[in-house]
């Protein structure tokens, strides 16, 4: 079909998805964006957020997508996230526990700058995963 493009999602843990899709939406380092078929050749760094993939048949799948890069070359899209978890695979309990842990740690005052940044990143990751699982 003309309005689909080939998408390949590869993480360090292996191939997460390969196939034709209609649309890919995710959050880059500078905001949300969507990629449609015949997008201009494009390359960006991926931020933290919920990603949506509209499959060839119009069904939608969501996932937590954090870090990495995305490139679109000649109607061939490569998404290389650091972590990619389909929403149905997300362990919400674990994410909630991580969120609670990070929050209680942030309430402590004597956190070094580095530790604070690390904990904030952890909290944000947990929030993204919880948010993605609810979709």
């Amino acid at each position: 079909m003309a309005n689909t493009f080939h998408l390949k999602i590869v993480t360090v843990d292996g191939l997460a998805y390969e196939g034709d899709v209609q649309r890919l939406m995710f959050r880059s380092t500078h905001g949300d964006l969507a990629i449609l078929a015949r997008h201009i050749n494009y390359c960006t760094a991926v931020g933290m957020g919920t990603a949506h993939v509209i499959m060839e048949d119009g069904s939608e799948r969501t996932a937590a997508c954090i870090g990495g890069m995305c490139s679109m070359m000649d109607n061939e899209c490569h998404l290389l996230p650091t972590t990619w978890e389909w929403s149905e695979d997300i362990d919400v309990e674990r994410a909630e526990a991580a969120k609670a842990r990070a929050e209680s740690k942030l309430r402590e005052d004597k956190l070094s700058e580095e530790a604070r940044l690390l904990t904030e990143a952890k909290l944000y990751r947990a929030l993204v995963r919880i948010g993605s699982a609810r979709h």
Binding site: V12, G14, N41, Y42, A45, M73
Partner: protein, 287 residues
Amino acid sequence: MAAANMKAVKLRIKSVQNTMQITKAMQLVAASKLRKAKDKAMQSKPYLRTMKRTLTTIANENTDFQSPFTKPGTNPKRLFIVIAGDRGLAGGYNANLFKFTEKEMEGQDYAVLPIGKKAVEYFRHRNAEIFTDEYAEVAVVTISECFRIAKSVCEAYEAGKFGHVSMCYTNFVSMMSQVPKSSALLPLSDFENPEEDQEPAVKNLILYEPSGEEVFNTIVPEYLAGILYTSINVSVASELAARRTAMEAATDNASEMIENLSLFYNRARQASITQEITEIVAGAEGA
């Protein structure tokens, strides 16, 4: 005399048997872990390949490229990331890697980032300058730790502490053969290889957001972390394969030793019985 000798041989057989039990167990454990480690090492390969291809495309097709990671550093000092094992009894796994690393380092000003207990011990013993020894246990290094390593290495590189970064690890060729290997990580000079750029006339125009430089600089640490993670997985698989082979040889040796000792024991037993009979017969004749 003969009885004492027999007792000693029997004890020896017993002790060799015990050793064999241990080596056999280690062999089986290594073999079962190896299967998992090999799968893990294979899984991360496509990520690396795709990442490398994309980075090469960006580096080759961007005409106004300016990234601190692509220019060769002015500092002659090198950083070596050495990935070894946590434990011994893996044949020549660690020794081979260190010998290889020594050769690579020869005549250079260097610092080391050891990963794995054996590597930390080795370079501490040699009083080498150690970048960080936080990652002493290679078996528990996770992907997020790889990102931390990659980030700190990139920061140190950008700050000009090192002019080059290389990595020494053990490549998993097959179950029977593992070869130490080194690969250059930074600068990414191989990305700007003009020979690879075979169609210079047809430049694809790519839109980079926010900018090519920024995208590249965000991706490089990720790419490094990916390489590190893959290499660690490959090294762990190599270590297990080396241990399995070494323990297999040890078990074979032990069973051979037991065979020889049993033969010796039986001979000694036979000799003592013959002697006793001779003595009895001699005694009977004398009476």
